[in-house]
Symmetry: C2
Subunit: 408 residues, 2 copies
């Protein structure tokens, strides 16, 4: 491994980035929670992003896409409490947010990325931004990454932040990230926001390519294709201050950068899954021996998304029949008579199904394994070399509670 995680790392750990998050009053005028944040680089960055594929899109998403057309950006403004989606005046408000950020940071409006998360279909108030943005611009600092992470939380119970460092041509390069996302029975039905910053020197094209590779095996594996929220946004800024030789092709440096970015995104994806709404457990579905990577991914996703599997995991119930059932309806090309299934955790590993048929196992041992808070469902398809991992959580009473009356 060519990289290492940095203790207490966050989005502002890389050189030249500052951030702050404040109580702005978007959630409600008397909220006590941070809900507006900005991140900025001291110099213009190469930038890339991936957005939701949902036909219904926040005005923030539409505007950020436009601002990223030239492949550069210098700051991010984001809020929780309101998604700015399905509103007649949504674009006007998103533009105003960028305009306020640009004015107070002394940069160009088109170099601001904007993101929102929260309730859909209620007009977003602009007054909180008019008041908060000048204040944020004043207090932004190297230490502000955590407050920024806090300001994008909705039903999240913990802040998600992390950073990795590695060497490129003798220079230390750092990538930091924050994320939020918690509506996770299908994760992508709840908005996922993630912002990453790096001091690497890398061209916009290579940054885009690296981000796409990383997302494919991280955030996209806590989700089902085409099943995305209206606001999902993952953006990365690269300001080049590490002083490495700029990455402009898929060379060895590109590989090191992308591997580190992938590891960072995977660690964030697991944090998202573990903090799924109401979740008590992180569930990892690990598939090996698939005909192809695509079949492996499809199988892993079907299992991780099955409400019956998720509920069984909540109950620490080794109900492997539901795992097989999910494999069976996944649409993947699988020979059911070759499928082996095992449950594993820090308490041990137990095989429950061999060649598609149940094997005798100790229910007590299985229970012990499934009572842990990180469970791996291991599936061996014995049919090729494709493998994949998907991340999810259990389905609990609290998921229902949180989503039964989210707006009030």
């Amino acid at each position: 491994m060519n990289f290492e995680f940095i203790e207490n790392g966050t989005v502002t750990t890389p050189k030249g980035f500052t951030a702050a998050g404040v109580i702005g009053g978007v959630k409600s005028s008397n909220t006590t929670k941070r809900d507006i944040m900005m991140i900025a680089s001291e110099k213009i960055c190469n930038a890339a992003a991936v957005f939701t594929k949902n036909l219904v899109q926040s005005s923030a998403v539409t505007l950020s896409k436009k601002h990223l057309e030239n492949g550069t950006a210098q700051a991010i403004i984001a809020n929780s409490g309101n998604a700015n989606t399905c509103n007649a005046d949504g674009m006007e408000k998103a533009e105003k947010m960028c305009c306020l950020a640009a004015e107070n940071l002394g940069i160009d409006e088109s170099d601001v990325i904007v993101a929102s998360t929260g309730v859909i279909g209620q007009a977003i108030p602009i007054e909180p931004f008019e008041k908060a943005v000048p204040e944020i611009a004043k207090i932004m600092s190297k230490d502000g990454g955590s407050d920024a992470a806090e300001a994008i939380m909705t039903t999240d119970t913990v802040k998600k932040e992390s950073a990795v460092k590695f060497e490129l041509n003798g220079k230390t390069v750092t990538i930091g990230a924050i994320a939020k996302g918690s509506g996770m029975i299908h994760i992508n039905m709840g908005t996922m926001l993630s912002f990453a910053c790096t001091d690497a020197a890398i061209s916009s094209d290579m940054l885009k390519s690296a981000l796409k590779e990383a997302v494919e095996v991280s955030y996209n594996m806590v989700s089902v294709d085409g099943d995305t929220s209206t606001n999902d946004t993952l953006a990365i800024l690269a300001n080049g201050l590490a002083g490495n030789e700029e990455i402009t092709s898929r060379n060895e440096d590109y590989r090191i950068f992308t591997d580190a970015l992938t590891a960072l995104c995977k660690s964030m994806a697991k944090k998202l899954a573990a903090d799924g709404e109401g979740a008590t457990k992180l569930i990892i579905c690990s598939v090996n021996g698939a005909k192809t990577t695509t079949e492996a991914k499809g199988t892993a996703k079907a299992v991780i998304c099955s409400s019956l599997v998720k509920a069984a995991m909540f109950g620490s119930d080794a109900n492997w029949g539901r795992v097989l059932c999910a494999i069976g309806y996944s649409g993947c090309d699988v020979d059911i008579t070759k499928v082996d299934v095992a449950f594993s955790s820090s308490a041990g590993c137990i095989e429950v199904c061999k060649n598609g048929v149940g094997v005798d196992f100790s229910e007590d041992d299985a229970k012990k394994i499934l009572l842990e808070n990180e469970i791996t469902i291991k599936i061996e398809l014995n049919d090729g070399n494709g493998s994949a991992e998907a991340y999810g959580c259990d389905l609990t009473y609290d998921y229902v509670k949180i989503n039964g009356d989210y707006r009030t």
Copy 2:
């Protein structure tokens, strides 16, 4: 309408059918619940069925398919408590069940349809059948339909049975049905069993065609294609005792028969949805103005299957943003700027979204409407003539409770 529902109608309401359901001990040796049932016709029937598309299939499904190859059958044996799926000796046990039924009814083994529902991957005990089947054969009667309906229940809270009658060439024709199914966050992840009997004279081919038409707009609209359980079975027997001229082509009689069968299946589908595991409400999603029927169906299914929509319905929360979000990721060709959404129930109807944007509405009035136990989400796409209805239920604490530890 050329048909009417029969008060207290059930699967044995048509001429020439008898049934019984008993406490056999499949669920456990000391269960107090009926778990084995048989239905039989006094003469051989034309028969048709649709089965799960899951790659993992109960041995009962595999064997029933074989027995139906010639288009005839005379009896059905079914049990709850064990799915007879993913067991090494599954086929042997399914054959034994048919053999016992045939012996005791004095018919051919290949004229028996077999179905099982319950836990996957545990060997099904044959002793309960050896003891119960002779007893069932003795007590089968015209009045036994309800006991049969009871014997296939798993987590269902109510029996599902119904019958319709109509005239064909001056003869009264009756179709009766029973059903079970309740694992319904995606309904098709929980086994759906339904058995219908009719005294209509109709060829196997036409029966198959009518069944397919009826299923398409009823049971298949509480489900997502490809996302089916391992045991789903819907079978119909037609013994011809009504004395109508046999339906052998898609003539007017075929239309009348199919419309009545469709209405019967729709009423059963709604009963299944309303009794979804933990459900407190029947949710109907009615889509109009779609480009095509396919787009209408896809849209309706995406909305009815959204966990976030389902949880909002549980909380009587008019969170129409989640409806739009589901439309957006449905994969259907929809112009979001034309979409109107309204919520309706016996307490009234309220428009919440017009042209893809929220409209002002009274939260109090919306709450009143959503507190009812049958809610229709009305979606007008304003983009064509396609329409469809899908049936589902809300997502509740009890769903999690029921599925958190189903096996113990």
